[in-house]
Assembly symmetry: C2
Homo-oligomer: 306 residues x 2
Amino acid sequence: MRCRTCGKKAAINMRHHRLSLCSEHFLEWLPAQTNRFIQKHVMFDKTDRVLIAVSGGKDSLALWDILWRLGYQTEGLYIDLGIDESITYSSRSQEFAQSFADERGLKLHIASLNSEYHETLPEMAMRTKRGRDNPCSLCGLVKRHILNNTAVNGGFDTLVTAHNLDDEAAILLANTLEWSLEHLSRGQPVLPSRPGFKRKVKPFARTCEFESAAYSFLRGIKWMPDECPFSKDSKQLYYKAYLNEWEASMPGTKLRFYNTYLKALESGAFPDGQEEVQVLEAQRCPNCGQPTITGGLCAFCRLIVP
Amino acid sequence: MRCRTCGKKAAINMRHHRLSLCSEHFLEWLPAQTNRFIQKHVMFDKTDRVLIAVSGGKDSLALWDILWRLGYQTEGLYIDLGIDESITYSSRSQEFAQSFADERGLKLHIASLNSEYHETLPEMAMRTKRGRDNPCSLCGLVKRHILNNTAVNGGFDTLVTAHNLDDEAAILLANTLEWSLEHLSRGQPVLPSRPGFKRKVKPFARTCEFESAAYSFLRGIKWMPDECPFSKDSKQLYYKAYLNEWEASMPGTKLRFYNTYLKALESGAFPDGQEEVQVLEAQRCPNCGQPTITGGLCAFCRLIVP
């Protein structure tokens, strides 16, 4: 296998793109691809202040590295969820994120669930029904709330997450198996800002996990190698495994699934889902001021207000 | 496991319905369920002349048996595709269909591809690019054309096929993985008649393959046990296997996938797909008169006209 650009020995073969590249040209290609996707979907430009959610894993560090090299104005946010029981997951993840930021002179904000709300995620999961049933769903809710709050309070223009193609395809498959119109109508890589919510974008939505891992490895980024101890039962990993099987026998399945979905969205599929979202957001949480789907406290504040 | 109705030993446990029934009550339950589905979607009534496509397999014979017992006016259509090379598939299937009809005094029409168009399906598959690439797609096209033609020429009101839940879920999954809006906008169990096309309905669309097999077995119906020799490479079987895995670990997955899809359709999802279909059908095939998506001959006539 040879690099398509220079003919040297290839370091990576991307069957879904029918493209092999050497290390040097892959490290050029992925940032260029990412930048094209950012520009195509008008995610942000170099005058914007961008807050990127950083977990210490390969995806968020690879993306932050790329945005930094491309010259975007980024600051990072690490959310310490206090998952340090069976393995020291959160504190080690934070170290990887902090080292990455320090090496590049980048600013990393730290939000600690325990310091701000006097409870770790495992404690909150034990205390609440939602957490006991599905800690990953609780964690998603907590992270979305804190990310958005930090972006609003810090005056950022745009919030970036490093969801990759594998994440997006798995979420899409799960939402499709239940035809959840509310979710299906909001799967774009750009969610425009709305009252109370900052603009949210996903520059890696067309980048495979495999590509972000290869980028981090070839760039010499040190990332947290362990998975969250809660994730082993997650639905998302369950569907990822199937999508990986399909990808292996039909290369390009994930990308085609995601790209054709975006086209369907653009053509106006799920018109009712969009309306539903607009109606739901008319109300505000009396505690935190974020939009909420119920009349009273938002889902996050219902967790933390006694 | 006990029958919910009478408490005797159950013959079947339907985990997706959380329902166990003995043979007697299952043989009552499935026709009643089927009739409720027919009435809910206003598929046809007892004044309609109904043509049912019969393959000699468990699904179509179980459904024909049920429609006959419910008192609907049905005639069957068997299409002899001439698949009699590696195994005598078509001729044996026809025998099962004919015996079934004879035992009940029902009328079975026979359409022979070879007699009418001077070519068997395997020959047509070898001759045409579409057939070589995907004989199942060719077969679907041929059957749809002949079914519709027979219904139009015979003055039937409605065309019934015995697609079951496993078929519908597999087709839906395949169409969803490519977000094929044209197909997704037309997955209802009732396709109303349109100029050139008879009304098409699927009374078994919520009935599992497992249920139709159990019905045929418990009712003593003899059905063709072999699969079509072409089907082993079909995409539909590929996706059925995955849906079966999900069903085993999460009972109800297939039914939820299908039911929530129908709700999404009802709420107006894929409006563009619908429009597209209407635009496409404005043209007629100069050879057979059926609507066509291209300016000239329809896809079927392109196969058979030299």
